[in-house]
Amino acid sequence: MELGSRARLSAHTLRDHLLNPVCRTFDEVPWCAEALTPEWLTRVLCDKTPGAAISRVTVSTASTGSSVRKRILVTYNTAGTVAGLVTRFFAKTTPDVLTRLTSGTSAGQEARFFTELAPLLPIELPAHRRSSFDRVSGRSLHLFEDLVETRAAQFCDYRTTFTHRQIEAALETLACLHGTLHGDARLVTQFSWIPRYETFFSALAATGTRAGHEQAMEEARHLIPPAVYAARDRLWPAAEDSLAEHAEGPRSVIHSDVHPGNWYLTAEGRPGLCDWQCIAQGHWSRDLAYALSSMLDPLSRRQWEQDLLARYLQALAAAGGPDIPLETAWHHYRRQLPAALLMWTPTLCHPPTMPDMQPAVVSLEMIRRITTAIDDLGVPT
């Protein structure tokens, strides 16, 4: 008899750790960044440069969250060096059981985003070189050029103070994403692999995130406006109610996790978006509400949000999206805020099957910003 998916992913994780296999063939999925061999990487990185080969691979730690991120430094032979091939890369892998449960089985979506959808989108994105994944074992690897080397990029986080122009450019990026395939017939054919947002929400809820949300509302109480805390029992139902908006009209492709830590700024100050594993088909306002409420401190948001919303709507229409009156957009913006909050309360207090995806200080700041936005725009009744 076959065991369930958690047992299967656990068993594969144990076997990988105990055997520590390296990749012998190109078709194998590396179980961790350290399993990458010069031969495997040569196939990926030197395929367009005759004679080039990698002689050495050096792996160093970057960060850990929903995946384990490592920096990869490769050393080329003379042909590769003379050709000026990129030497620094960034790998996202799922070597342990919690990252496999969280990201391993959805790795295919991020891989397909970069291979199938990204070429259609004129937005700033990480230079993707290879994705490799196996749903059965939960092994996955996404390999990108290291933006710090190739574009002198700076990764953002909750401490980043976005200028008005930078946040405007970030919203233009989202508008381009949302508008390009808005209501496109290919969403039910060629791109039907992109899950509906409701499915994404249900999958999260099925892991026990509601209990974590409720616990987090207590743990973060000192940061939550009193009116929002008083309405805490209505926040989860409000997020569930907002799911209806996704099905009300033509859908867009949405990123779903547009918090500041998933943005970077190129040397020219152009915002780029990474971490596409939560990609979904849904209502554009879900990303808009999450971006405005999480990327800006409340003072800047209050000052800029009307203007930014208007600019976003212009960009959305220009990218092929719908022409939405400002008042209607404001309604959607307000209604999607509880769903944005539910990305962070279960991150602060997560079920045992989820890894520590973010330091508590980040989750608390996101909860403070989003609940403040809920308070400003109107607590759900």
């Binding site: 008899m1 065991l3 369930g4 958690r6 047992a7 992913l9 656990s10 068993a11 994780t13 144990l14 750790h17 105990l18 055997l19 520590n20 342990d96 059981v97 919690l98």
Partner: protein, 71 residues
């Protein structure tokens, strides 16, 4: 709570569990053990072994005389 009923009626010599319940209980124990072991496995544990411990309680039903093993 994951549990299984062990039937041991007073005066009976036989001790039984339902086959379907036994299978379900065993699957859950294996799932728990593998998950705990996978969470505990350290980096660089190559060719080693991983310890995993589960705790159970056994309760007596004073009326029926049956036992319930709870995970």
């Amino acid at each position: 709570m994951r549990s299984i009923l062990v039937q041991l009626p007073p005066g009976e010599r036989r001790c039984t569990v339902a086959a379907a319940a036994l299978e379900s209980f065993a699957r859950e124990i294996i799932d728990d053990l593998l998950f705990q072991a996978a969470r505990a496995v350290p980096d660089g544990a190559a060719a080693g072994q991983v310890k995993a411990t589960l705790t159970f309680t056994v309760m007596l039903d004073p009326v029926t005389g049956d036992l319930r093993i709870n995970r």
